[in-house]
């Protein structure tokens, strides 16, 4: 028999999917011709290792069938008025379908650049900047192409907002944002992405060398970042592209900016994952919106209220919520036992009694603290993303009730037949449900409550787990432009191994006593989550694609004594004494998936 429950709470995004077709802003079509209009940054972008070249390569790899053509149209020193003059010849004559406008640096810089000022040059006034952009967007749209409007990046890279031109750049970037919104053009907020990146990666507050070579022009890391953002702007996030129409705006914003830190699929990166079982700052819609709006002090997560209007922030929140599954917003309360003896558990009964404690849990499951004496009440939201048949089950320890939207869907106690600790099957529609768990057992040391929710298709949400306090899932991942040497206990590797993590995500495990490479991986990261829980003596894990280099000798000699390691930008420098002579070995990245070893 099937028990059908109508969800009481449904978030608007779930049903708001209007049209199934992709919006005009989105996606790529066959034979798309994409022109990049800009200044010297874009001129360099069309060279080998420039951002246009890189983006072109990536896109060709992702969509070889589309026959895309990327065309650079950047000229050094150009400002908006210069671009207006050459729009026809340099852009429209190429018959583009998409045009990136990445301009504004010189418009700002030429107000203060000593050489320009000395020869009487000037920047562009905000009024001319805005009207010029509008005119170009209009002309491009009239020619049948859409515009992706970029905000100007940086003039000097200090991450604390104290570069001399920061204020003016922000003013001009805001003009871009405004024009993009008002002309319904797609915005690629390069400036915000740069600032976010620099906050995370420029702790020493240097003016250049992180993303630029000279405080303005992009270095390799900068070109790489812009290339990723360009690709991100052209290819929307997520696979189910248009199934959720109202999530559109949120997804667009996410793929322009947020993915930099939180991963293309919310899986996390420099920032925490947004789809896993740990929510440091709460998983409720209010909590998520608050973090987007107010930021997280002391972290690269800045307050975005200055950047996005409230509706955009809400759209971002809804996009994040649309990606949730399983339990969220868990609250654990403990109630005194006495009052419930002999009474059937109901939410109403619990609501009439004051709890001993009430604790919002950052995890998406329940656990009790040692020596908990009382009855556990767990309250949470259950996010269901797939219409299917679901069952609830709990291990028969003591007395357990589970309520879904106020209706009891599961009950077991000592008298219940042990074989029937699985609920009846319920068909659930996508949506958000109120879930309540009540659990009592005799043991006073720790609860053995254990339960789960399963669907026919194999979706599985666990209701119990361990505390992850202090155990935030943690990865060690490559940082742009900077190598790391990591010592971690990895199963199957010598505990002496030095894990050289290069900026291209290659990890080389080097044995400092043997002078040998033990193993290497590309597209790799170290997942140290298994080692984190409280009593865990488990090793960390390397996720990555194995490179078959094991055994390569880096050093040869009778006596190898390891002396030290240092980081030199993207390279790991290892110094050893080999038969009494100091030898410097350098492990550096090579391409996307390789590394080189050199000895000096």
């Amino acid at each position: 028999m099937t028990n059908s429950l109508l969800p009481k709470i449904l978030l608007c995004f779930v049903f708001a999917a209007g049209s199934i077709s992709a919006s005009a802003q989105d996606g790529l079509a066959k034979n798309d011709r994409i022109v990049f209009l800009g200044d010297s940054i874009t001129a360099a972008g069309a060279r080998p290792k420039g951002y246009i070249t890189m983006a072109s390569e990536q896109l060709k790899q992702l969509h070889p069938e589309l026959n895309l053509k990327l065309i650079g149209a950047g000229i050094g020193g150009h400002k908006v008025p210069d671009c207006q003059k050459r729009l026809q010849t340099d852009v429209l004559d190429h018959k583009p379908t998409i045009v990136f406008i990445y301009i504004g640096i010189n418009d700002v810089w030429h107000w203060s650049h000593p050489k320009v000022v000395a020869r009487g040059g000037k920047g562009t006034t905000p009024e001319d900047f805005e009207s010029g952009l509008r005119e170009m967007v209009q002309k491009i749209n009239e020619a049948g192409a859409r515009v992706i409007l970029c905000t100007p990046t940086v003039i000097a890279e200090k991450s604390d907002g104290t570069n001399p031109d920061d204020e003016k750049l922000d003013e001009y970037a805001n003009i871009c944002r405004k024009v993009a919104t008002e002309t319904k053009s797609q915005l690629l907020d390069l400036r915000m992405a740069f600032i976010t990146h620099l906050k995370a990666n420029n702790p020493q507050n240097v003016t250049e060398g992180i993303l630029t070579s000279d405080s303005v022009h992009l270095n390799e890391a900068g070109n790489k970042l812009v290339a990723e953002l360009v690709v991100g702007a052209l290819i929307p996030t997520g696979e189910e592209t248009a199934a959720t129409g109202a999530g559109e705006r949120g997804r667009t914003l996410y793929s322009q900016l947020c993915f930099n830190c939180h991963g293309r699929n919310l899986e996390g990166g420099q920032g925490p994952a947004l789809n896993d079982s740990y929510w440091q700052h709460g998983s409720s819609p209010e909590a998520i919106l608050k973090v987007i709006t107010k930021g997280v002090p002391g972290s690269p997560m800045i307050p975005y209220e200055a950047v996005f209007p409230e509706e955009d922030r809400m759209a971002l929140r809804d996009f994040i919520l649309s990606k949730q599954e399983g339990l969220r917003e868990t609250v654990r309360s403990i109630y005194p036992r006495e009052y419930f003896a002999g009474n059937r558990f109901t939410p109403e009964l619990f609501n009439s009694v004051e709890s001993l404690s009430q604790t919002p849990l950052p995890e998406n499951h329940y656990y009790a603290e040692r020596n908990t004496d009382g009855i556990l009440r767990g309250q949470s939201k259950l996010y269901i993303s797939e219409a299917n048949d679901y069952t609830f089950s709990a291990r028969p320890n003591g007395r357990t009730s589970i309520f879904l939207d106020g209706v009891e869907v599961f009950y077991s106690d000592e008298k219940t037949d042990k074989s029937t600790h699985v609920s009846k099957t319920m068909s659930l529609q996508p949506g958000v449900y109120d879930l309540e768990i009540f659990h009592e057992e005799k043991t006073a040391h720790s609860y053995r409550f254990s339960g789960s929710i399963r669907s026919k298709s194999g979706r599985h949400f666990v209701l119990n787990g361990r505390s992850l306090q202090g155990n935030i899932p943690k990865f060690v991942r490559a940082r742009p432009g900077e190598a790391q040497v990591v010592r971690k206990w990895i199963d199957g590797l010598s505990p002496r191994a030095l894990l050289c993590l290069l900026p291209n995500r290659v990890i080389v495990a080097y044995h400092p006593v043997d002078g040998r490479v033990l193993a290497a991986w590309h597209s790799a990261e170290i997942n140290q989550t298994p080692s984190l829980p409280d009593r865990s003596a488990k090793p960390s894990v390397i996720n990555g694609v194995s490179i078959d280099d094991a055994g390569t000798a880096l050093l040869e000699g009778k006596q190898i004594r390891f002396l030290r390691y240092e980081i030199d930008g993207g390279k790991a420098v290892l110094v050893s004494q080999v038969d009494g002579v100091e030898k410097v070995s350098v492990i550096s990245p090579k391409g996307e998936t390789g590394y080189t070893l050199t000895n000096q």
């Binding site: 702790p203 020493q204 002391g298 005194p336 006495e338 009052y339 009439s352 009694v353 004051e354 709890s355 001993l356 040692r370 306090q469 202090g470 155990n471 935030i472 943690k474 060690v476 790391q484 040497v485 990591v486 010592r487 971690k488 206990w489 199963d491 199957g492 590797l493 010598s494 505990p495 002496r496 044995h511 400092p512 006593v513 043997d514 033990l518 140290q528 984190l532 409280d534 009593r535 003596a537 009778k558 006596q559 004594r561 390891f562 002396l563 030290r564 390691y565 240092e566 980081i567 004494q577 038969d579 009494g580």
Partner: protein, 850 residues
């Protein structure tokens, strides 16, 4: 309306009940906290994220540095945290070196120096100080430290493994309540010293889990250990170079032991070898997992316990105090609880410049009473209140003297109890032979702050001296009314004369000069002469007759120079040098000429630093006067002597001491020495001249000593002057088949992947040798062990109530009596093995998958 009123009233009643319950809970918490009057605990918020701190230290500028289990070093300055270093492997302790402006941290596989070369507040150079100890990858192979002596040398300790192939059961009660610790790799269970990057000197062994390590202001090393196999209870050792402290698994690292020899020995054999703890810390009462000791050097800023030792305990979430005194030549002493109620489990302590006692606290891995996963707290004193406490105790010839911080009120009624512990391979020992003792002849001092009384005394006992309900004259009660004294020895009629006061020469070894109790170097076979006699290098100066100044020392036709009258020195002066010489003792069986009189001479490097020449073949003498000793300082690592009458050799590489402009020692003389091809000194520091501390000097002649006693001759002496010591060291060692890591066995073989087909708990219990291969024997053996505990009625048969798996019972019950015999019980699991051994190769490994 009525209904709602009723429910309101009900709610009200319930609220009252809830408040009462909450209050009860609060008072339970405060019962746990016991804080002496005048002291206060303060908490400092740790940086966000996963930071579980394991160690801390203070810089002179007030900066506090902590290391975290997650591998980071954080600095706390002006109420803000900054990360100094990251990606380290479970660093378990940190030390800041003022002179070098660098941190030293004990990572699991390496002692590391962290340097911030560009002074931007972030470490950019990670230098290996030493990695010359083994590590098998077993999780419990912790590395604790370092602590540092007055010469700047680093000391750190190495945990045994919890699982592995070499354990030492004594056959009596093996493994009860916990597995035996295993020696998986060299130098586990040891404490070592590193004088400088690249240097590694194992010091003493017999430790199990030496989590606490401390260096007293007098350069005495103390280690605390955790109860377990061979360690009856938590305790603290006074560590002296060369001693064995009780856990036999670490003995195979010594050249005079092998694994086979250790396994053939009994607890009684080990008991003869071992040095007992200076202080036992009674389990549950004082400590379960003691941390590092620290000495109150705050000169009163931390209250009235100046000079005492403070410790902390991870499980008990407390600080406690401790003191030692010399009884019959060795340290022993007392401990008393001091303060309880910390948030998590303290493991390391540090005083800041204001005299506040900080602790790094961790509850990860092992439960702490405080409950939190980690915490950073400090305890401060208000600068005026003297809490009423037992200050210390001391053993008298007939009982004890106990001192208090405040005068005692009337009614002083101490009680005394004694007990001892077993020494065996079982996990921990209960108190044995507990006795209550009558307290007699009590005398209270005039100031009423000290009590002496008599108690029947026996050596090798722990005495618990309790002052129940004791009040001070101002009506205060004791927070902790019991002090524990470890009486390894009783007061002798006459305390032995202390050794010669030679602080300048023996820093860190904790031995007196010429101490007769210092362990003699283990006897090993010298290398066959052909394997180490090297040709004289071309650049060498041959020290023939023309090179020596004393005409009484004459070379004969064969180039042999017997010892003559008066010392003999070279014409030339030398500094850094590579030296070779050969010597031979005249045989003698005259009982008058033994010990220091059997062939005594000496090689005086740079005229002042003596490498002893003495027959030590079947001729015992004190350790630092042994053949090959740096006389009065370092015994040789081993005794590689040949018989009198046979030629022997010394090969010496030495670096001259370096002096500053003010005459201070910048770097002491360093030497690496082989005796008959066997390494006897591995890059040691010489602490001073044989007759006294360093005096600045330049190059000086090489000298050979004249000494009373039987004859000794020399030949084939040569010297290569002005060698570059550091550059030559590795090659020099390699001449004799020694490489810097030659003592590190290859234990770094990649391990098999873990078994996944069984749950981790079963794998742990079944895979006894931890090799990730479960054989049929291991699979069945685990089940066999379960039979007796399941057989509740001890009938030798399992019935349906004892084996509640009806189907399995039915299948296994071959004789159909409804019960399982031992064999039938095992039969069930033998039958299951093929189901788990999926690939049918006869063993369960990672390759077996569902």
């Amino acid at each position: 309306m009525n209904e709602s009123l009723l429910s309101d009233r009900q709610n009200h009643r319930i609220s009252v009940f809830v408040i009462a319950a909450a209050l009860a809970f609060l008072s339970a918490t405060s019962a746990f906290a016991q804080i002496p009057a005048g002291y206060k605990i303060e908490t400092v918020e740790l940086p966000k994220g996963a930071v579980t701190i394991l160690g801390l230290c203070h810089k002179p500028d007030g900066t506090l540095a902590v290391v975290s289990w997650e591998g980071e070093v954080w600095e706390y300055r002006d109420m803000t945290w900054t990360r100094f270093a990251e990606n380290l492997m479970e660093p378990n302790g940190i030390y800041y070196d003022v002179k070098e402006d660098a941190y030293y941290v004990a990572q699991k596989p390496e002692l590391t120096r962290l340097v911030d070369t560009d002074k931007d507040g972030i470490c950019d150079k990670y230098e290996c100080v030493t990695d010359a100890f083994g590590i098998s990858g077993e999780y419990h192979e912790y590395h604790y430290g370092p602590v540092v002596d007055s010469l700047g040398r680093k000391y750190a300790s190495l945990n045994l493994a919890a699982r592995g192939e070499f354990t030492v059961p004594d056959g009596k009660e093996p493994g009860k309540g916990g597995g035996n610790m295993s020696y998986n790799a060299p130098w586990r269970g040891w404490v070592y010293r590193s004088d400088r990057p690249g240097h590694f000197q194992p010091l003493a062994n017999g430790f199990r889990s030496p989590c606490g390590i401390g260096m007293s202001p007098n350069d005495e090393l103390f280690i605390t250990d955790n109860q377990g196999d061979w360690v009856a209870d938590c305790c603290m050792y006074h560590v002296k170079e060369g001693n064995f402290y009780g856990h036999p698994a670490s003995l195979p690292a010594r050249p005079d032991f092998t694994k086979e020899k250790v396994l053939s020995m009994t607890a009684a054999d080990f008991a003869k070898l071992r040095t007992p703890p200076a202080v036992w810390f009674p389990r549950e009462t004082i400590a379960n997992s003691p941390g590092s000791p620290i000495w109150d050097t705050t000169e009163g800023k931390f209250g009235p316990f100046s000079g005492q030792m403070f410790l902390c305990d991870q499980r008990q979430s407390n600080y406690f105090r401790c003191g030692v005194e010399t009884v019959d030549g060795d340290y022993q002493g007392w401990c008393v609880d001091f303060l309880r109620g910390l948030e998590s489990g303290p493991v390391k302590l540090s005083f800041d410049s204001q005299g506040r006692l900080w602790s790094a606290q961790v509850g990860r891995g092992w439960f702490s009473v405080g409950g939190k996963r980690t915490a950073l707290q400090y305890v401060k004193w208000d600068g005026e209140t003297t809490p009423f406490a037992i200050e210390s105790t001391s053993l008298t010839k007939t009982g004890f003297e106990v001192k208090f911080t405040q005068p005692l009120a009337e009614d002083v009624t101490p009680s005394a109890k004694s007990y001892h512990y077993h020494y065996y391979s079982t996990y921990g020992s209960p108190p044995v032979d507990e006795k209550e003792h009558e307290v007699s002849a009590m005398v209270i001092s005039k100031d009423r702050k000290s009590v002496t009384f008599d108690v029947p005394l026996t050596a090798n006992k722990i005495y618990a001296l309790q002052f129940p309900e004791q009040k001070s004259t101002n009506g205060k009660s004791l927070d902790f009314d019991t002090i524990f004294y470890t009486a390894n020895k009783l007061r002798p009629a006459k305390e032995p004369r202390p050794g010669r006061n030679v602080g300048w020469s023996l820093a860190g070894s904790s031995w007196d000069r010429n101490d007769k109790r210092r362990p003699l170097p283990p006897i090993v076979e010298p290398l066959p002469a052909g394997e180490y006699n090297l040709p004289t290098p071309e650049e060498a100066t041959v020290l023939d007759a023309a090179q020596w100044t004393n005409p009484d020392w004459k070379f004969d036709a064969e180039g042999v120079m017997p010892r003559g009258k008066g010392n003999n020195e070279t014409r030339e002066s030398y500094g850094n040098a590579r030296i070779h010489l050969e010597f031979r003792f005249d045989p003698s069986d005259d009982p008058e000429w033994t010990g220091q009189l059997f062939g005594n001479s000496g090689v005086f490097l740079m005229s002042g630093y003596e490498l002893q020449v003495l027959n030590s073949y079947q001729n015992p003498t004190f350790a630092d006067g042994h053949c090959g000793a740096i006389y009065g300082q370092h015994p040789p690592r081993v005794n590689a002597c040949r018989k009198p009458g046979e030629w022997q050799s010394y090969d010496i590489l030495m670096k001259a001491p370096e002096f500053g402009k003010d005459g201070s020692v910048d770097e002491p003389l360093r030497a690496t020495i082989f005796h008959n091809g066997v390494l006897i000194h591995d890059d040691v520091w010489v602490y001073g001249e044989v007759g006294g501390p360093y005096k600045p000097h330049g190059k000086r002649p090489l000298k050979i000593q004249d000494h009373k006693g039987t004859g000794v001759s020399f030949r084939n002496l040569w010297i290569v002057p002005d060698v570059d010591y550091d550059q030559s060291l590795d090659a020099f060692r390699a001449n004799f088949g020694n490489t810097p890591n030659s003592f590190v066995e290859t234990t770094d073989e990649p391990k098999r992947p873990p078994i996944t087909i069984l749950n981790p708990g079963m794998v742990r219990d079944m895979d006894v040798d931890g090799n990730r291969i479960i054989t049929v024997e291991e699979f069945i053996g685990y089940r066999a062990k379960q039979f007796d505990p399941m057989d509740k009625d001890k009938s030798g048969l399992l019935d349906a109530s004892e084996f509640p798996h009806p189907n399995a019972l039915k299948g296994g019950d071959k004789d159909g009596d409804g019960k399982l015999t031992r064999e039938e019980h095992l039969g069930i699991f033998r039958g299951q093995f093929p189901n788990v051994d999926v690939n049918g190769d006869g063993v369960i490994t990672a390759e077996d998958k569902r």
